[in-house]
Symmetry: C2
């Protein structure tokens, strides 16, 4: 099991959290997605290490930006 | 056709706008729902005048509050 943590900007409410969780959770191999609205921190547990590009693309698809 | 305008607090993003539109739009007789995120103003067009209690109940159901 691998864990990846990124920081996302632009989430403002619980609906935003749900949108991010849904999009990232749909990536193959993802087991769980934790989102902290205050800090923007998104922690993803996956079977194998998750390529940064795939995670960033999913966040972008949900309508938000990744820091860094 | 009747038009009712109220002010809603707590909407922070486009997902919030969608949630309010969906809940209010589901009320019988409602033709259209316009929401301005910045001001919180919600304008509802309906066949007959919309009782304030029904509108407030729908906003509450969506998870937001009506001012006044």
């Amino acid at each position: 099991m691998a864990s990846t943590t990124i920081t996302v900007t632009g989430m403002s409410c619980g609906h935003c959290v749900s949108a991010v969780k849904e999009e990232v959770g749909a990536l193959s191999g993802v087991q769980s997605v934790e989102v902290d609205l205050e800090s923007g921190r998104v922690t993803v547990a996956s079977d194998d290490p998750l390529p940064n590009e795939r995670l960033t693309a999913a966040i972008d698809e949900a309508g938000y930006d990744v820091v860094g």
